[in-house]
């Protein structure tokens, strides 16, 4: 391990040295806009393996990479036109942007959901390094897994064993870095769940109406539940609510709740679902799901939805249409499914269409 003090005069010399080390799969500690970082060539398996050996990170954790500019970013992650515009207002800056990976960097750097975090810091040194070294390099903090990041080289070296130090080829000392916040993570990757398409299943239109306010939306919910109550003796009844943010999906569920004497229904977005016991003779429990945050099939598995498919169980899914797999899960004749679509006509009015599966 070699430590070199960086000043503006020896920058050219230092960049040459780093470049040589990165090309030869070495590890370099470097100053960044946030904390001291650890650079390895993101395209070299040997280099990434060495990095992971140093960090002792659990396998499933991803590591972001520094790119030179937008053009380079586009080579490694999928960026839509809209996202490009957003990125142009944010970058360069103290952000880590998460996007679907094009799998051109070493796979171990990607997250389990096949995304990659990219960084484009507004910092002279990282930009100079990107100019000198033509490939993306890793941007993980130079600390062991589970330990805090370092703002000075001495505090980093104090925590390292001789064996760890040997893994580092070069350390660039730029004194004590200002205590900036760590980078903010912005996840722009789209959920990779197949959305429901009308063609996938047979839907029959059973009701079409306009609600003029929240109370009427609640009433429509109550009427629908009343009409379908008897089915609950044999199997579960499921409402899948389809509609944009703020169209009244939770209001609809509040209506169902009022019918059952439940008055404390709130949005379950954060936890994914809440359950409520009822005193109704046909319904034991109301399970209120919100799959807004669900991103993968794995997310659904932990909810153990199959277990809930039994008589006297009422299930409601907000954003359930996000996941067509839900429908096959629910189909198996253990439930009756109603799809309720809510559309905004004006600030108050909603068009409500109900289908039967």
């Amino acid at each position: 391990m070699r430590v070199i003090k960086l000043n503006k005069k020896n920058i050219k010399h230092i960049l040459e040295k780093i470049k040589l080390i990165l090309v030869n799969d070495g590890l370099v500690v470097f100053p960044s806009d946030t904390v001291y970082g650890l650079a390895a060539n993101a395209l070299s398996l040997t280099a990434v393996k060495k990095l992971l050996e140093f960090k002792q990170r659990p396998k499933e954790q991803s590591i972001s990479v520094v790119v030179k500019n937008f053009k380079q970013a586009k080579q490694f992650v999928v960026i839509s036109l809209n996202q490009q515009n957003i990125l142009k207002t944010l970058l360069p800056g103290p952000y880590t942007i998460v996007l679907p990976s094009k799998h051109k960097v070493i796979k171990k750097l990607e997250a389990e959901d096949k995304t990659l975090g990219i960084r484009f810091p507004d910092y002279w040194f990282t930009q100079a390094l990107s100019k000198a070294f033509p490939f993306p390099y890793t941007a993980t903090s130079a600390n062991l897994h589970g330990k805090g990041p370092h703002y000075s080289i001495s505090s980093l070296l104090n925590t390292l064993s001789e064996k760890k130090k040997k893994l580092l080829d070069l350390v660039i000392d730029y004194g004590i870095l200002p205590r900036h916040l760590p980078s903010t993570v912005i996840n722009l990757s789209q959920p990779n769940l197949p959305c429901l398409r009308k063609g996938d299943f047979q839907f029959r239109l059973i009701k079409k109406c306009v609600s003029i306010n929240e109370d009427q939306t609640k009433q429509i919910a109550k009427d629908l539940l009343k009409k379908n109550l008897s089915i609950l003796k044999e199997k579960s009844l499921i409402f899948v609510l389809q509609g944009d943010l703020g169209t009244g999906k939770t209001i609809f569920v509040k209506g169902l709740g009022e019918f059952l004497g439940i008055n404390n229904i709130v949005s379950p977005t954060f936890v994914l679902y809440y359950e409520y016991s009822t005193k109704h003779k046909f319904i034991n429990k109301l399970h209120h799901f919100d799959l807004y945050r669900a991103k993968t099939k794995q997310d659904l598995k932990v909810l153990e939805i199959e277990k809930l498919l039994k008589p006297k169980n009422l299930l409601v899914f907000e954003w359930g249409e996000k996941i067509s797999s839900i429908f096959s899960l629910l189909k198996a004749n253990k439930a009756k499914i109603l799809l309720v679509s809510l559309k905004e006509i004006s600030a108050e009015q909603r068009k409500i269409i109900v289908y039967k599966l």
């Binding site: 954790q61 760590p182 993570v185 977005t269 954060f270 936890v271 809440y274 359950e275 909810l303």
Partner: protein, 345 residues
């Protein structure tokens, strides 16, 4: 008194060992905090497989505290509110250990934990903060927005809460509407610093209501209509202004109800906890407000104590145990997904 606490109410598998108010070890197995550091990426919800993580988390917490289970005096666990299958993992594990090692089990409400989080201390007993009842507590997070009157260690009264979305959830959804991904609270805060909070007029929720309740669905709809009315170019040019405008009105709505609550309840101190309490602008405005009311305000002393953790559960559990609230027969305990500070306190 050594307590091992477990919280699996949502995404994190959290285990801590505490001694009175002192946190001896605090383990979080979602590692969102670690990911947030340089080069971090948020894990997917799939990581919430508490079942596979609970055992290693307990072992690690004990190892870091240099203790074994026999040395622990009692177990504590969050029974609600939270995601039912997730809560179940923590509750079942706590019951199992309490039976196996013949230890008392202390059931703790997650919100009770957040309230007690401001009194957590490091191993050296810092910071020193005294309880002074009655205290007004304000828990603001992605899952909760609640004003609770805290009369003594085991007496809580909810005086205001959200009727639909939580404040943190509103911030997250606003971020998603302008294409900034999830979770959006921290990113809105960062961008808002550079924006003009008066650029876009938005309705202040529950302004006309005399109650202490909150509601963010109307604001969410109004913001959606605003965002949809802007051209792509305009939206991108004004990202910071949109963030600043939205954040300003969320903070305003929180402050209005807080002021109302402080006026109608004579309290000696204010406690603010939950993930949103980390927002610097919110803290600034709350500090200004409590000055007028001439009371003290306490925020969680460390960042990890604002979001979900088990250390806060351990602190709450200690005081409950002192008041004799624990189960001698652990099998009595069941998860309560919509617990509302109304059972076991």
């Amino acid at each position: 008194m050594l307590i091992l606490s477990i919280d699996t109410s949502c995404d994190e598998t959290a285990v801590a060992v505490t001694k009175q108010r002192r946190v001896l070890s605090n383990v979080l197995f979602s590692q969102i905090k670690l990911h947030q550091q340089y080069g971090g990426v948020y894990p997917s919800l799939a990581k919430r497989e508490h079942l596979t993580k609970i055992e290693p988390a307990i072992n690690l917490a004990l190892k870091r505290a240099r203790l074994n289970l026999k040395q622990i005096k009692a177990l504590a666990v969050t029974f609600g509110p939270g995601l039912p299958p997730a809560l179940e993992v923590g509750v079942n594990k706590a019951k199992e250990l309490a039976n196996k090692y013949q230890k008392p089990l202390i059931p703790v409400d997650h919100i009770e934990g957040h309230i007690n989080s401001v009194f957590a201390q490091n191993k050296a007993g810092k910071p020193v903060r005294d309880f002074s009842f009655p205290t007004l507590t304000f828990i603001i997070s992605g899952g909760h927005t609640e004003l609770v009157l805290w009369q003594n260690h085991i007496k809580y009264k909810i005086i205001g809460q959200t009727l639909d979305d939580a404040a943190g959830e509103a911030l997250d959804k606003a971020a998603r509407l302008i294409g900034l991904g999830y979770p959006g609270g921290p990113i809105i805060e960062r961008l808002a610093k550079k924006g003009n909070p008066n650029q876009y007029p938005l309705p202040t929720p529950m302004l006309q209501h005399k109650s202490l309740d909150f509601s963010y669905s109307g604001l969410k709809s109004a913001f959606k209509r605003l965002v949809y009315s802007l051209s792509e170019k305009e939206k991108n040019q004004h990202l910071a202004d949109l963030c600043a405008s939205f954040q300003a009105v969320v903070i305003k709505s929180l402050l209005i109800k807080l002021n109302l609550a402080l006026r109608s309840n004579k309290v000696k101190a204010l406690i603010v906890g939950g993930g949103v309490s980390d927002n610097k602008e919110l803290r600034k405005q709350i500090r200004r407000l409590v000055k007028q009311h001439q009371i003290r305000v306490y925020f969680p002393p460390l960042k990890y104590l604002t979001t979900d953790n088990a250390a806060m559960i351990g602190v709450a559990a200690y005081y409950k145990y002192q008041k004799g609230i624990y189960l001698k027969n652990p099998d009595q305990l069941d998860r309560i997904p919509r617990a509302n500070l109304d059972v076991y306190v």
